[in-house]
Amino acid sequence: MTEPIRLHFEVDGENFASAGAASEAVKMRLKQIGVDPAVVRKVSIAMYEGEINMVIHAKGGRADVAIWPTHVELVLSDDGPGIADIDLAMQEGYSTAPDAIRSLGFGAGMGLPNMKKYSDEMKLESEVGKGTTVTMRINL
C-alpha cells in the first residue's frame, strides 16, 4: 500500500499573525504535487479555520496532515479548554470568541461549520478541561 506524505506542524498560540502558516505550507505542497485547485482550496480553508480556532481558543496545538492518493486527512489537536456542548458549537453564528478576536475579523461562529462544509467527513472529539481533536477527510 502506498505510504502517504505526512506533515506535522506545531501551531503557535501566542502569535495571531502567524496563524495560518501551517495551512499555507500544506496548500503549497498540494499545489506542487498537482492536486485539483478546487480541492486545494477546500483543504486550505478547512485547515485554516482549524488553525485559527486553536489560536483563539486553545493557545495553539498540533496539526498532522496525511496526503493519500485518494484523500487528505487533517488531524488538529489541542490541549485547550474543550467544548462543553458540541451541537451548540456546530451551529452557525454561535461563538465564544472574545470581542478582541472579532475586531480582528474572526469569531463570527463560522469556524466549525465551515470546517464541516469544506470537508467530506469531519469528526469532533472534545473533553472539557482536556482539549479538542478535529479529524477531517477531504477526498481528492
Partner: protein
Amino acid sequence: MTIREVATLLHAEVLCCEKLLDTEVHSACGSDMMSDVLAFVKDQAVLLTGLVNLQVIRTAEMMDMKCVVFIRGKRPDPAMIDFAITKGIVLLCSNMRMYPACGILYKNGLGAGEITV
C-alpha cells in the same frame, strides 16, 4: 475588468504587485469579517475591506483572490505588503467607504459572482 480599472474607479493607490494590474477579475466581495469571507465567498477575485491585519492577506490567499482593496483610507503595514508580494496579491488603498466603493465597481460591471443565499 482589470485590477487597473478597479484602481482607477476607486481612485486607489497601488501598494504592490504593479505588474499584475492587467489581471482580469470577474467578481468581488466586501466584508470586514474574514470568517464570513471564508464561509460565503466563492471564486470572487477582489476583496474590499476596512480590516487591516495579516490575516486579511492570508484569507485572500486561501481563497485564491487576486486583489485586496483597503477602504476608508486604511493602510497595511510593511509586513502585510511583503507577504502580499510573496503571494502575488495586488494591494490597493482607497479613501472611499465600503458602500460607494462596492457600488461603483458593481455599476461598472464587476458583479458579486456566485452568491450563496
